[in-house]
């Protein structure tokens, strides 16, 4: 049980009985092997730098050094087992491998002292071992390496088999029994995997999210999800954000559950110093009448010692129904030794011993009753060891009698505590902190006012307001009885110390609280609405009956109630079609049914008009795609048949412009073997140019414009094969690509503006007709302006319902338009992107399994057509989908989507909302969950909060299943009118809090969290998360209100 390891801790002279000595060596190895194996079982892994590994290596080293024939082997100078290894390496391949590794490591740093002399010892004396404590190379290097490489057992086996060569006759290795025992003992440790990475701070091969959650559920043994009980805790904890060690403030059952999990899994933060089962404790609860058996353990963490006691009911079998187990968590004990001043021991020869811990506050902890058999003494001795070097027991548990030299102290426990004494004895120890007395006033302690106060007082402190008066008052209340029999000498000192501490703690606690509140007010007051609206009676949400009540004669006036009911309970599914347009702002509250019908009609009309616009463009894009495709294939085949074009192609590949578009440059045409066609095109090109020139001469710009409009209109009517129009487009493009090297074909530059494009097109003319260039440019510029103005007029007169029509690019209208090259390119690009994403949007959901994808595409295209400056961005489809599923009506979906996007667009890459969200998340976590914040702070990466990216971008749409998305969305929409216009932040926080124990106990970093939440997508308990997020909003509201 006790794992205070001692390195090479057997201090026996060689002159002793050889047999005895060998026995001891073997026992030491056995012990260490057991320790390592235990560690691997309890922690699931063994860290390479674990103390038990070092001890094991030391023990093995001792065995191997004993009886080594140094002289015979020429090892007397180095006298080391490392030299032995190098010698053996010639004959044993495993040893050879390890020997190489050792040399490599040693050579990697020439300045470093050779490990041959530094890492080994010739005699198993403690002194030797400790003589190179600061060596940068780990001790017992080769043994370590061999162990990690799983070769150690084999190498030793070899040594044992060939012991006569290397060892004296009476050596342990040469002994027929001990030798084989030694090698077989090491088979176990050699089968383990050692890890350098799976420490708490850094491990990335963690179990999948599933397993983590399961593990957590099982071990916490609670039927209620953790989220439900979380907020209160946070609230409590949030009062001392500046605490260095939030452990202090946990006395709660949940925390014990968490700690328990920690101590079972990957708990390399705390060392177990003592463990004993069936220790009886009488929990300080009214409903317990008899002492309960449980597991008592003593843990050492960097910050101090902790005593834990867990009822047996929690220790045994997690499999059975765990309904009533939660109650046992209330009984579990956790005591930080920092808080303890006195240890009272009552020794009874009949019944064993009882220990009562008394805190700084004078409060007794429940008595801990040890069964008979020296367990209390063992516990105390572990406790004393654990206190060193910073603290000690006064009087010392072990009386020391200095012998001849100080290294051989003989120790004997105080007579009172040995059970051989017959009488019943009591004894009191005082725990003394040797460190500087000022430490008591360390900020850490002072900030945690509540940590050492009795529970009742603490509760009161939390609930009272911040005035120092009231908090100091609460300190005086309820001081429980002072321990029975403290030696009178100490009473005065104790009282003084208590008085001082109480006063200073009260002051610092109050100060921390004030600072905290001011932070809250400065940073977070904007995140929630000031007015707290309660959810009385609204938890059912808007049911059909409720809706009938709210919607009288088709008019809904009481919007506050609609929002309130939605926020607290969501909307019945069959009502969503009716209510969502209100929530999104499409329908106005107070509108009559007729008004809404008219609006629907209008919306529909506008939607269809817009669709017809882009459908026309789509037709052109499609046609060009076909040609693109044909061309690409033609090129592919020509490429494969004629090798002489290779240099050409290489050049084009490098410039990477070949793929820009169809029938582009002359180079292509040449390789196409397509001369007739090309001539044909040239002719057409000339014709058009000629026309242009004519028009320039006449100055009839409007005619030109009209003509093109007509052409396009014809195209609108479905004349896809109108080759003339298409050729116009082609020519434009061809000339564009031919002549404008500066035109970057990069698809990302979606938005060359209109004028630029026309000028570019214009520039093309100079090939054939340089002298007219100036003319033509003037002319085309004029056209541009003309077009722009006419389009503006179109838009104005058109009166589309779109609330946020883009002002930047004005594509075209249904009654004729000019499709610039740029427009076609941009829309074509968007179209392709939309199609790619529509094709893979929620195909596993029944609505999108086969049909309805076209509807989604139409809505998406219409939006993008109307907002070409924004363009399609991945994620938009995900935002349309739930609306479409609900409405199953394209125009209504479109209108609502436009409203939704007013808020959401800012989250997309061009907006800045995402950064704000991240910054707000940081502040919120800092305020509401200081412990989590500390951990995040420790991992610098956390500051990005990118694991929330998808949450915010899609309003949690990807995190939840459809029915939950509906509820979540409507609650987000309603929230801004009820509680917070940043409700998504609280949702995000609630998600984090739901899994906080898992995140914290596994020390997850940035990447771990991303992975965890990606794996948990669509598996969250939305109801609980929503409930928790509403609670979090309320928490913050209360914090801010409490002025």
């Amino acid at each position: 049980m006790i794992s205070v390891f001692s390195l090479g801790g057997f201090n026996i002279s060689m002159s002793g009985d050889e047999k005895d000595y060998k026995e001891k060596l073997i026992v030491a190895v056995k012990k260490e092997v057991k320790q390592v194996m235990e560690e691997s079982v309890t922690r699931k892994f063994v860290h390479e730098e674990s103390g038990s590994v070092t001890s094991l290596c030391g023990a093995v080293e001792n065995c191997l050094s004993q009886g080594l024939r140094r002289r015979a082997l020429g090892l007397f100078k180095t006298s080391s087992t490392t030299a032995l290894l190098h010698k053996v390496a010639k004959h044993c391949s495993e040893a050879n491998r390890i020997s190489k590794k050792v040399q490599e490591i040693e050579n990697s740093d020439p300045n470093r002292r050779s490990s041959s002399s530094s890492d080994s010892v010739s005699k198993p004396t403690l002194k030797k071992n400790l003589s190179f404590p600061s060596s940068p190379l780990p001790r017992f290097l080769w043994i370590r390496l061999a162990l990690f490489d799983k070769q150690l057992a084999k190498i030793i086996d070899y040594l044992v088999s060939n012991a006569s060569k290397y060892y004296d006759k009476d050596a342990l290795v040469a002994d027929p029994d001990y030798g084989s025992i030694l090698s077989s003992l090491l088979v176990g440790p050699c089968a383990l995997d050692y890890s350098r990475t799976k420490s708490v701070e850094q491990f990335w091969t963690d179990p999948p999210a599933d397993e983590l959650v399961k593990m957590h559920r099982i071990s916490s043994g609670h039927s209620t999800p953790p989220s439900v009980r979380r907020p209160i805790l946070n609230f409590g904890r949030s009062l001392n954000t500046s605490s260095d060690d939030p452990l202090l403030s946990r006395n709660n059952s949940q925390h014990i559950a968490k700690d328990y999990v920690e101590s079972l899994h990957q708990n390399s933060r705390a060392a177990l110093l003592f463990g004993k089962n069936n220790v009886l404790v009488m929990p300080a609860k009214d409903d317990v009448t008899e002492p309960m058996p449980g597991y008592l353990s003593l843990h050492q963490t960097p910050s101090g010692l902790t005593i834990k006691w867990t009822p047996n009911q929690l220790m045994n079998g997690f499999t059975e129904e765990s309904q009533d187990k939660s109650i046992y968590w209330d009984y579990a004990l956790q005591v930080r030794l920092d808080e303890i001043v006195y240890v009272h021991c009552h020794q009874d020869s009949e019944a064993g011993g009882t220990i009562i811990l008394v805190g700084q506050d004078g409060v007794q902890r429940p008595p801990i009753h040890f069964p008979k058999g020296g367990h209390m003494l063992a516990f105390l001795s572990c406790l004393e060891t654990g206190l060193l070097p910073r603290g000690r027991l006064d009087p010392p548990l072990w009386s020391q009698r200095a012998g001849a030299n100080s290294t051989t102290k003989r120790r004997r426990p105080l007579p009172a505590l040995s059970e051989t004494e017959e009488a019943t004895k009591d004894y009191v120890f005082r725990i003394i902190d040797n460190s500087d007395h000022k430490d008591i006033f360390k900020r850490k302690d002072l900030m945690n006012v509540k940590a050492s106060l009795p529970t009742k007082v603490r509760v009161q402190l939390c609930s009272t307001s911040t005035s120092s008066e009231s908090s100091s008052k609460s300190f005086s209340i309820d001081q429980q009885s002072v321990p029975d029999s403290p030696p009178s000498v100490y009473i005065q000192a104790v009282c003084d110390s208590m008085k001082k501490q109480i006063i200073s703690r009260a002051f610092y606690g109050w100060l921390a609280y004030c600072r905290h509140l001011s932070t809250v007010r400065t940073h977070l007051s904007g995140l929630v609405n000031g007015k707290i609206i309660n959810g009385d009676g609204a938890s059912e949400g808007i049911t059909v009956e409720k809706w009938a009540e709210l919607c009288t004669d088709g008019v809904v006036t009481d919007y506050a109630e609609v929002y309130r009911y939605t926020y607290f309970g969501g909307i019945a599914n069959e009502l969503r079609t009716q209510i969502w347009p209100y929530l999104l702002g499409h329908y106005k509250f107070g509108s009559t049914e007729e008004q809404r019908k008219a609006l629907d009609e209008e919306t529909k009309q506008a939607y269809e008009n817009t669709m017809s616009e882009w459908l026309a463009v789509e037709a052109i894009v499609r046609q060009r795609d076909k040609e693109d495709q044909a061309h690409a294939i033609a090129k592919l085949s020509s490429e494969s048949t004629s090798g002489d074009h290779a240099p050409n192609e290489l050049h084009r590949d490098l410039s990477n412009e070949v793929f820009e578009d169809v029938i582009t440059d002359d180079e292509d045409s040449e390789s196409d073997h397509d001369t007739p066609n090309r001539k044909n095109k040239k002719t057409r090109e000339n014709t058009i140019r000629y026309e242009s020139e004519e028009e320039v001469d006449k100055g009839e710009t409007n005619k030109d414009c009209d003509q093109q409009q007509n052409n396009v209109q014809r195209n609108d009517t479905g004349a896809l094969n109108s080759s003339k129009i298409l050729s116009v487009e082609e020519e434009e493009e061809a000339t564009c690509n031919n002549n404008c090297d500066n035109l970057e074909p990069d698809p990302r530059e979606e938005l060359h503006d209109f004028i630029h494009n026309v000028i570019v097109t214009n520039a093309s003319v100079d090939i054939s007709n340089i002298e007219t260039e100036g003319h033509v440019r003037n002319h085309l510029d004029a056209v541009t302006e003309e077009n722009n103005s006419s389009l503006d007029t179109c838009i104005e007169t058109h009166g589309l319902a779109s609330p946020a029509r883009s002002a930047c690019v004005s594509p075209a209208s249904s009654n004729g338009g000019i499709y610039t090259q740029e427009l076609l390119k941009t829309f074509g690009l968007n179209l392709h992107r939309i199609e790619k994403d529509v094709q893979r949007c929620d195909r596993n959901y029944w609505y999108f399994a086969n049909e309805n994808l076209d509807k989604l595409r139409n809505v998406m295209c219409t939006y993008v057509w109307e907002h070409l400056d924004i363009g399609y961005m991945q994620g938009m489809c995900d935002l349309v989908a739930p609306l479409l599923v609900t409405f199953d009506d394209e125009s209504l979906t479109y209108a609502c989507f436009c409203h939704l996007m007013e808020r959401m667009i800012e989250n997309f890459p061009n907006g800045n909302a995402m950064d704000c969200h991240f910054a707000n998340m940081r502040s919120l976590i800092q305020i509401l969950d200081a412990e989590m914040y500390e951990q995040m702070h420790a991992h610098g990466d956390y500051t990005h909060f990118y694991f929330c990216y998808r949450w915010f971008l899609l309003d949690f749409k990807r995190e939840l299943v459809y029915p939950d998305v509906f509820t979540t969305w409507e609650i987000i929409w309603a929230a801004q009118h009820v509680a917070s216009s940043h409700f998504v932040l609280f949702l995000a926080l609630a998600l984090l809090e739901t899994y906080r124990d898992i995140i914290l106990s596994n020390g997850m970093d940035f990447t771990d969290i991303i992975k965890f939440f990606n794996e948990m997508a669509e598996r969250h308990d939305a109801v609980a998360v929503l409930k928790l997020s509403r609670e979090l909003v309320l928490q913050l509201q209360l914090l801010i209100e409490n002025k």
């Binding site: 390479e48 004959h91 044993c92 391949s93 495993e94 050879n96 491998r97 590794k101 490591i105 780990p138 370590r144 390496l145 990690f148 084999k154 086996d157 070899y158 088999s161 060939n162 890890s195 350098r196 990475t197 850094q202 990335w204 091969t205 495709q629 690409a632 294939i633 592919l636 494969s640 290779a646 192609e649 290489l650 590949d653 070949v658 793929f659 074909p745 698809p747 990302r748 392709h832 790619k836 994403d837 893979r840 949007c841 195909r843 596993n844 961005m873 991945q874 994620g875 489809c877 890459p909 061009n910 990466d941 990118y946 990216y949 998808r950 971008l953 990447t1007 991303i1010 992975k1011 990606n1014």
Partner: protein
């Protein structure tokens, strides 16, 4: 820190949307293909253990959003990458065309110490589909011009060449990481076993 750990190779997959980045990753790690993958939003990663030259390394394969506009997110994810995998769709010429900008953007954002020698691997995906628009030759030519970038033609759907491609990726990543190992590299995980293995003792008989 990084060099002190067990070897972790960070690999970033880049390429236009819908070229099959997610599918390739899942095919490699889980040996599964689904036509129901959604467009990746943000970033995700999977890990896989591979053995290279007797060394077990963990590949952390990052899948990213394909739309260029989301690249601004990249910097957080690209940091510390050991290899970058560029993917295009052999049936979609445009996805090939944008490779240059993906590569450039990565180099800018990840800012590796030696941009010229940073390992990239090019994958031409969807070779199971017809009609093809980009020939192997053209892709290879592009690779030649980019410091002889390795090129693989894959099909995530059929699992064709995926294993080989990622093995090459892992090797390149490992080579990159070994080059940039710190001087203060402590024992024992950075020991190069590659040469020591075969040189000696192979035929030696041993009593073990």
């Amino acid at each position: 820190m990084a060099s002190n750990k067990k070897v972790l190779l960070k690999v970033i997959i880049l390429g236009d949307s819908s070229v099959g980045k997610t599918s390739l990753m899942n095919q490699y790690v889980n040996r599964k293909f689904s036509n129901q993958y959604k467009a990746t939003i943000g970033a995700d990663f999977l890990t896989k253990e591979v053995t290279i030259d007797d060394r077990t390394v963990t590949m952390q394969i990052w899948d990213t959003a394909g739309q260029e506009r989301f690249q601004s997110l990249g910097v957080a994810f690209y940091r510390g990458a050991d290899c970058c995998v560029l993917v295009f769709d052999v049936t979609a010429p445009n996805t090939f065309k944008s490779l240059d900008s993906w590569r450039d953007e990565f180099l800018i954002q990840a800012a590796p110490r030696e941009p010229d020698n940073f390992p990239f691997v090019l994958l031409g995906n969807k070779v199971d589909l017809e009609p093809r628009a980009i020939s192997a030759k053209r892709a290879q030519q592009w690779c030649q011009a980019k410091n002889n970038m390795p090129y693989f033609e894959t099909s995530a759907k059929e699992g064709l060449n995926v294993e080989q491609a990622f093995l090459a990726i892992a090797k390149n990543a490992l080579a990159q990481q070994n080059q940039s190992v710190d001087l203060y590299n402590e024992f024992p995980d950075q020991i190069k076993l590659t040469n020591t293995q075969k040189s000696n003792g192979g035929g030696d008989s041993c009593a073990c």
